[in-house]
């Protein structure tokens, strides 16, 4: 499948407030990272892609179907995996029970194959040893992995993950990246995150949103390149910098208009993203 998502003129309003404004987006195979501050419209966009929310205006095509059409929406949901921003689980269920329950709702009706599939996804997120443990006894990171497991049921063509790495420790995050990379080889993953490290490590393409609009659409390398010659180290915070913080080595990393003879360093995705947060350069809009 060439294109998994096609969006034209997408608008979503809640009363007078506009969460998404005239957004155009095409998404193919691979991992798309969605970055943006709180209130940027990321979660609204994720919910629209997951067919949880209808747009106010615009056309949306997901996996070749229109979610506004009942038959089309059903077809999308059969090939969709979704992890919402707030993970709600049933405290009195075990890990296996919960994922098995979602598998039932995802029309895995044959008991044997369904249980095999549940075991597969539970093992994939490294929860095999605690599959019979009650969810109320799990840590936050483990709960998030339960949510991730249910999204992998049926090997979905489209994975929509809203801040999936919140609460995961570094090792779990690494494992998550491996899982998503593997899945994305033949599929489409749309991943919303605040963690620029996840974008840098995982995403083929990154879209930055702010106030409901796309402010950048390109590769992580291109996003980092926005900050070329605008990141430098100094012994003290530079008042001319847009953002400055103390590093682990005791020096200060500054992002902004660098003074002459500044000790320039290679920018990261985070630097490019921070610069976008300060302004909306024309050249940053795809």
């Amino acid at each position: 499948m060439g294109s998994y998502v096609n969006i034209r003129g997408l608008t979503k309003r809640y009363g007078r407030s506009q969460a998404v404004a005239e957004l155009d987006l095409d998404v193919g195979a691979g991992v798309l990272g969605l970055l943006g501050p709180n209130g940027a419209g990321k979660t609204t966009l994720m919910r629209i892609l997951a067919t949880s929310l209808a747009p106010t205006a615009g056309t949306v095509n997901v996996l070749g179907h229109d979610p506004a059409d009942a038959e089309g929406r059903l077809e999308i949901r059969r090939k969709l995996g979704y992890v919402p921003q707030e993970v709600g689980l049933y405290e009195n269920f075990t890990v296996f029970d919960f994922v098995d329950y979602i598998a039932i709702l995802k029309e895995h009706t044959d008991r044997r194959t369904r249980r095999d599939e549940v075991r597969r996804v539970v093992e994939a997120v490294d929860l095999g040893d605690v599959s019979s443990k009650k969810i109320r006894k799990l840590s936050g990171g483990m709960r998030r992995r339960v949510a991730l497991a249910q999204s992998l049921l049926g090997d979905p063509a489209l994975l929509v993950l809203d801040e999936p790495t919140v609460g995961l420790d570094p090792e779990q995050r690494l494992r998550f990246r491996g899982l998503v990379s593997q899945h994305a080889e033949r599929r489409c993953v749309v991943l919303s995150t605040h963690m620029t490290e996840d974008v840098e490590a995982l995403c083929d393409r990154v879209v930055v949103m702010n106030l409901g609009r796309i402010t950048f659409d390109g590769t992580p390398v291109e996003l980092a390149a926005l900050a070329k010659d605008q990141v430098w180290l100094a012994d003290v915070p530079d008042p001319r910098a847009l953002v400055s913080w103390r590093t682990g080595e005791g020096r200060h990393r500054n992002v902004g208009t660098a003074p002459a003879a500044a000790e320039l360093i290679t920018p990261t995705v985070q630097d490019g993203y921070l610069l976008l947060g300060g302004r909306v350069p024309d050249e940053a809009v795809a």
């Binding site: 949880s52 979704y82 707030e86």
Partner: protein
């Protein structure tokens, strides 16, 4: 060990063609003999072995069914329906409390014999089932609703199954009050049609707003109406005997029709 399982015996054992004594003998021997376990292992077909392991895993991983789910399956409910019902227990305490209040009011009515307590009972009786309705779906009742609402299984089906599974017991519990009020004749069950109407009304309203909000609106309207119009007790009881029943039928039909017409909004929310 002086005796070991030969290849022929191993094959007959795997094919279950040995008598029970020989089978037991071989099984006891296998517990202590690596060599014979290897011999028997070679005789087992991979497919059969995989099947056996799958059955063992299945038995170990099978969800432990709660009493509600076991009862539903005994009554003939499908796996899907009984799991849907079992998943939300958060609302149970709430509606049990609501039902307990209305049954307590029935007790007071029966003891006092007064119209005040009885009319209060008739007003309170639908609240328990309505609270049960609020527990059918939504952020409060179902922590996983965000995931459930995008599965292929119809959200409306989930809501209706859970509503029925909660409202019916709530009504049954409330009906425990009926024997205490037999002196009131058929008025002791005059709360049933309003309960149906208010439940369907809340469900219909939930095609516009969240189910919890819809239920609160309906409960608020139901409780406040006699207060706002300052209906005297006698008139209220007369209304339960007459107009309220007819209005309830109308609301129930309108609610059901609204749900049919607006069924897609349960699957695809606009806000």
């Amino acid at each position: 060990m002086t005796w070991h399982v030969d290849e022929q015996s191993a094959q007959r054992y795997v094919a279950r063609r040995l008598d029970s004594t020989s089978t037991s003998s071989i099984e006891s021997h296998l517990l202590a003999c690596d060599r014979c376990r290897a011999t028997v292992g070679v005789a087992v077909e991979d497919d059969l072995l995989a099947f056996v392991w799958s059955e063992i895993s299945d038995a170990l991983d099978r969800p432990r069914l709660g009493w509600a789910e076991r009862t539903l399956r005994w009554l003939g409910c499908s796996d899907t329906s009984s799991r849907i019902v079992a998943a939300t227990s958060r609302a149970r305490l709430s509606y049990v409390i609501a039902v307990a209040i209305s049954v307590a009011m029935a007790l007071v009515a029966s003891w006092s014999g007064g119209d005040g307590a009885f009319s209060a009972f008739l007003m309170l009786a639908p609240i328990g089932p309505l609270v049960a309705t609020a527990g059918a779906f939504g952020r409060w009742a179902d922590p996983a609703h965000a995931v459930l609402s995008v599965t292929p299984t119809s959200t409306l089906r989930i809501v209706l199954i859970r509503t029925a599974a909660s409202v019916v017991p709530a009504i049954a519990l409330t009906a425990l009050s009926v024997p205490m009020l037999l002196d009131r004749g058929w008025l002791s069950v005059a709360w049933l049609l309003p309960t149906l109407a208010l439940t369907l009304g809340a469900l219909a309203l939930s095609s516009w707003v969240d189910l919890e909000i819809a239920t609160m609106i309906v409960v608020g309207a139901w409780i406040s109406t006699p207060i706002l119009i300052r209906a005297p007790r006698r008139e209220l009881l007369d209304a339960f005997a007459g107009q309220i029943q007819f209005v309830s039928i109308g609301i129930a039909i309108a609610g059901a029709l609204t749900m049919v017409v607006r069924h897609t909004t349960f699957e695809y929310r606009e806000g």
